[in-house]
Symmetry: C3
Subunit: 258 residues, 3 copies
């Protein structure tokens, strides 16, 4: 049982660090369970505006912790429990988190790393980061919920390239294709992420939560989600946040959201 | 009550101009209502082949007319009526228009501007045009139908960047990601759009309408839309347009569609 | 009745060649029917790992064989039979094929060529290949199933550009937008495809089939497909392929899949 998920708080920002540095932060089973606990806890926090997700010591995440695999992968029930409860439990808690998530990606971002990055809203990467999901070399397919997540974030065409050709893609290619929002020189990545996190922390927090809910429902159900979303979408009309945003704009001053 | 939607006709082409130049063509409530009226009227015209959508005086559209917001945004029913009837009324009429729409984008294309551009089929932009939806600074989320529209056109990843980080993106980034079809030097944009509009006006008009209906239904319902689309898709077999296109090709002459 | 679909086998690889070179490999009706037969046969083969799809003599496929069109397109029932049975029969057999498909694209890739390429999982192209679907010049729309296929693969924005403006796009643009996975100099394309096909042939074959089924169902039904996919997804737990992949990784040797 190696590795852990570290959580630190700095004002309106939380930093979640994938930490298993001897294995380039490969996700062990206990790390998946911790990932779920950490995000369920963050979702409940009132004063949080942004979550930065990063890896320890120069890598984002190299995949799963393969040393554990022989102990549970060859029996159907334990394999299903791993993917549907442990892995999906962690990813589902990230996807359900209404707070904006920012991924800081350097070094290897493979398999589980791509899945975790796909749960984030913005992705900044070092120019030399590498991405892939070469599990076809390990003899198994991507679990369906994970494949749907990755295909939605990467685009289906790139997902096929990773899964069916086991290719590793460089960061500039994934920036061109829209998966990565910004590329940075390696020594500027951390400060760029912090700057962006601070800028995001100054934005309207309730609006962010509502935007995330809308995009989540739309991805899950398509336009069939819209009537239910519309029905609950205008309760914010009289909120202090809404009034502050408009008032600040009219007064030509920066808004200060409660 | 400022601004208006100007409509001019030149042969097979209509030009719709967003005009509120003192506010970089920000959309007032009356402009949204006019936008609907204009597109309902265009949809009914028989001899129209292409609609060019542009902004007055060097900008496409800088967003909504915020000076009006204090008068109606802080009460739920009037806020809902604004988004669901006025804004969506205009956008829905654009989306329902079976005639190909070409956006000519320069200067600022923000918020409402991105939404209006997202309703167009082709988007040509000046290399220095700027795009965003920084309403998180104004304290409110994007309405669900508008968010789904924008996410479908920009890609979900870019929509998250605009909504959750309030970032402004330059035209070359949105060309790389496929939202913009062509980039032009500022002083060549208008003539390039006119050339493209004229080229589009020479194409088969009924085929364009059918392609637009197919893509609209597919976006709304996914592949579930296909059986109903197939059922009504081959009535064009004996049409003059179809016969002319094939005959012209066989005769090695340009087609002339009725 | 011109042209044919050639099939050759080399070990774990099959090569499907669109062959109608006097017409840049335009697809005749008999070629569509042969395409279906070839892919139904390939799907049933046990020892096949990758299918390479290419065109004869310097082009991928220039579209449909227009010389045949006057004989059947102007009557609704024969037009419907052409699109729904012949064309879609061929494309459906490609989409239903569980074996990874690799497209080798050079020269013209138009109309039917774009549709056939859209059925492939990976697409490698010569830097000077050209893509489009200028059927608006021929007076007819894309059939709904074909339009949905192409829009899913190209992105809706690029599909609108091809269908509504009849524009021809160069390979570098479609690489940037993610449709093409790699661009090659013309004289290196064939060897690059063969290298990639051989690399893909060494990957886990059952995993590839499962990944393709997952992505196919997800495209057809969205996330509604997931519960049924999950229910049948973990039967591979005790398979030799799965055990070999993990064992090879732990032994730091290349896997050899049965």
């Amino acid at each position: 049982m190696s590795g852990c998920i570290e959580l630190t708080r700095e004002g309106l920002l939380a930093v979640v660090t994938l930490s298993n540095p001897a294995k380039f932060n490969a996700m062990s089973r206990s790390m998946w369970r911790q990932l779920r606990e950490v995000f369920l806890a963050l979702q409940a926090e009132a004063d949080l505006r942004v979550v930065l997700v990063r890896g320890e010591a120069g890598n984002f995440c190299a995949g799963g912790d393969i040393a554990e695999y022989e102990s549970f992968r060859f029996e159907r029930d334990s394999l299903r429990a791993f993917h549907e409860e442990e892995v999906w439990g962690g990813l589902e808690a990230m996807l359900a988190c209404d707070i904006p998530l920012l991924a800081q990606i350097e070094g290897n971002c493979m398999g589980a790393g791509v899945e975790i990055a796909s749960c984030c809203d913005l992705r900044l990467a070092s120019k030399d980061a590498r991405f892939g999901a070469p599990i076809a070399k390990l003899g198994f397919p991507m679990a369906p919920r994970e494949a749907a997540l990755v295909a939605a974030a990467l685009g289906e065409s790139t997902a096929r390239q990773m899964l069916l050709a086991a290719q590793v893609l460089q960061a500039p290619v994934l920036a061109e294709r829209g998966f990565l929002h910004h590329l940075l020189p390696p020594d500027e990545l951390a400060s760029a992420c912090l700057d962006l996190a601070q800028a995001m922390a100054s934005l309207a927090p309730q609006a962010a939560r509502m935007n995330k809910r809308t995009l989540r429902q739309w991805r899950q159900q398509g336009e069939a989600a819209l009537p239910a979303l519309v029905a609950q979408s205008y309760d914010y009309a009289d909120s202090p946040e809404h009034r502050e945003g408009i008032a600040a704009f009219m007064a030509k001053r920066p808004p200060v959201f409660p």
